[in-house]
Symmetry: C2
Subunit: 371 residues, 2 copies
């Protein structure tokens, strides 16, 4: 089935919206945060550990899975769910962001697609809108993303204008070859921080009638928070209220709040797992760095009132030890906490919208959270 | 309390013995295999995951924990059990093996102890029999090991003779300062592959009346299987039947069988976790290397009749993918299987001894297991 978004209510104080998304793997609640399983694994965690964090949809990366193990192998395994043992909904990105950011520097963007070299072995590859969709069809995720151009934050207006046009043409080409009846396809709004480009991109993308819409071109290196919020503000008004809205690559608590306030339903980010592997943990008063020697003698949990597995079983002092000596268990345990932190935050956000008190929640949260 | 070994029975066909060991953290059954948590963590696994493998006693390393985070921090946390969140029995080694094998090459063995440089930062350190026991007292493991000299497999008879004498003096010095009333202290039999030295070492060590006895000086680089079996054969007859016997550092399935047949009760080894991180998994027909490309399309578990978490949830093809792309989850999942494999083997061995059919079990096992 295609995903179906049900709007339950909009907060009376802002655009924050409460909803549900019906998927092949059950109904999930929004706003929600999706943990990222780049290479068909949320780094260091079993899928049961991910689910214990309260996960709904998780994200996997088309670019990485295309290169290794290859979409045919995943398909042969019975699709991504069976391959990675996740019986919840899975969204795959288009591979575009990785091709533009991760692939070897020299890339050649043509109307056909993007010529680039594999970041693994330098092999010359071509990713096109059609290829991206074909790969995702085979991966058999519940939600596929259209292949878009991801321009750098430094791109000027004229570049972005052309890029928006190209992304629209690419979206149409991808949609034309999309064949998996159990997979939804989302369109992506581009246009940088420019109101007219965002509006144009949103309106034209919506005309193509996708199953959901994403706001792309944010979370790029060097992008300012202001530009990110503009990108959302200038896109949202032109998206239909009966389709889900997904802000790609965003996971800082403050940005989740700003996104929700503006009407975003879904977020994803590698942040909680990436910073965990470097010893950083979310707390209600901001991130803490467990490498700090002051934590060596701290035998309390990361957060004493947290309900995650890590906080119920392990102390800051122990986690610091693991991180300091390079035991991968440290990164896994802090990842569990960080993922649970963002998912719990989303649960609280949903409760606040129910009570039309999202802005109070946001104010309260930010009055304590510093960094 | 001190550990108490209860001999239930000896197999009618050989010296294999079935028993229980009463500890501060419950009664465990022997023969048993102890997973190794070198730095207060079985690499990549939560303690719940270790327990789900059926673990009884686990081992932690005094040398590593002395260097980082330091025994005082572990003590301040409430001891190793609380520090690492393991509510089963824990055995600590003496640090001797690591000082002799891992520390920077240049070491100076004196009567006082071993002068060496830290493998982490080159700091000059001195580990003595007293210091080893003091550290272990603070770590608060259930079982501490005496500090012994671990000569290389190439050591000649005269060297080993002197080494045995020194190990006896060191054992006495360690015993004299051992103060933790909740911690048992084991003596270690040395003497290489020489019958007279093993007998002398065993008899003199037993005279000191330890809570259990270990057979050391095996599993060294370059040691032959024959020398290992000799070391066991020449030590066991002189150990009391009412104390538990521990063969240090041994974990190959064939060696577990040979050890049990000769009357060994406890084994430990990093093998199951170390080979797992390199993609190797135990099966009933021998080890398989999941890096092998033939497993890319194999969507069956490592072993279809295995009851471990990994075999119930993940396939060879997926594990191969994780190992190939360098996801640490791969090593963790294969570690779970490998640890469970050895623990399950021990469960079966105990069943076979109950039925006086250990030698049949061994023959049957080895008729299938090839490598």
């Amino acid at each position: 089935m295609k995903v179906k978004y049900n709007l339950i209510k909009v907060d009376k104080g802002c655009k924050a919206r409460l909803g549900t998304l019906e998927t092949n793997y059950g109904t999930v609640e929004t706003p929600m945060f999706m943990p990222v399983g780049t290479r068909a694994a949320v780094k260091g965690l079993t899928t049961d550990q991910v689910k214990e964090c309260g996960s709904g949809i998780i994200l996997a990366n088309t670019y990485h899975l295309w290169l290794r193990p290859g979409e045919d192998i995943v398909n042969e395994a019975g699709g991504l769910h069976k391959f990675m043992n996740y019986d919840g909904p899975i969204l795959t990105d288009s591979g575009g962001f990785q091709v533009f950011s991760l692939a070897h520097n020299k890339k050649d963007i043509t109307e056909e697609g993007v010529h680039f070299k594999s970041h693994i072995d330098g092999t010359k590859l071509l990713l096109t809108p059609e290829k991206s969709i074909e790969i995702q069809n085979k991966l058999d995720s519940d939600i596929a993303m259209s292949f878009d151009e991801c321009p750098p934050a430094s791109a000027d207006y004229d570049y972005l204008k052309n890029s928006v046009e190209r992304t629209l043409r690419w979206a149409a080409r991808g949609k034309a070859v999309h064949k998996n009846p159990n997979q939804s396809l989302f369109g992506i709004v581009q246009g940088g921080p420019h109101e007219d480009l965002r509006r144009y991109s949103a309106e034209e993308t919506v005309k193509m009638d996708f199953d959901g819409y994403s706001i792309g071109g944010v979370a790029n290196d060097g992008e300012s928070k202001e530009d990110m919020y503009k990108a959302i503000d200038y896109s949202i008004p032109y998206l239909p209220t009966d389709k889900v809205r997904y802000l790609m690559g965003v996971g800082e608590p403050v940005d989740l709040l700003e996104g929700v306030e503006r009407g975003v339903d879904i977020f994803d980010c590698v942040l909680p797992t990436r910073i965990a592997r470097h010893g950083q943990a979310f707390t209600r008063t901001g991130k803490i760095n467990l490498n700090n020697s002051k934590f060596a003698h701290d035998f309390t949990p990361i957060e004493s009132d947290c309900d995650c597995y890590t906080c119920k079983h392990y102390t800051r002092g122990y986690l610091r030890h693991l991180i300091t000596v390079g035991e991968s268990l440290g990164g896994s345990l802090i990842s569990i906490h960080n993922i649970r932190f963002l998912i719990k935050m989303m649960e609280e956000i949903r409760e606040s919208i129910k009570k039309d008190s999202f802005l109070d929640y946001k104010r309260e949260f930010l009055s304590k959270y510093k960094n």
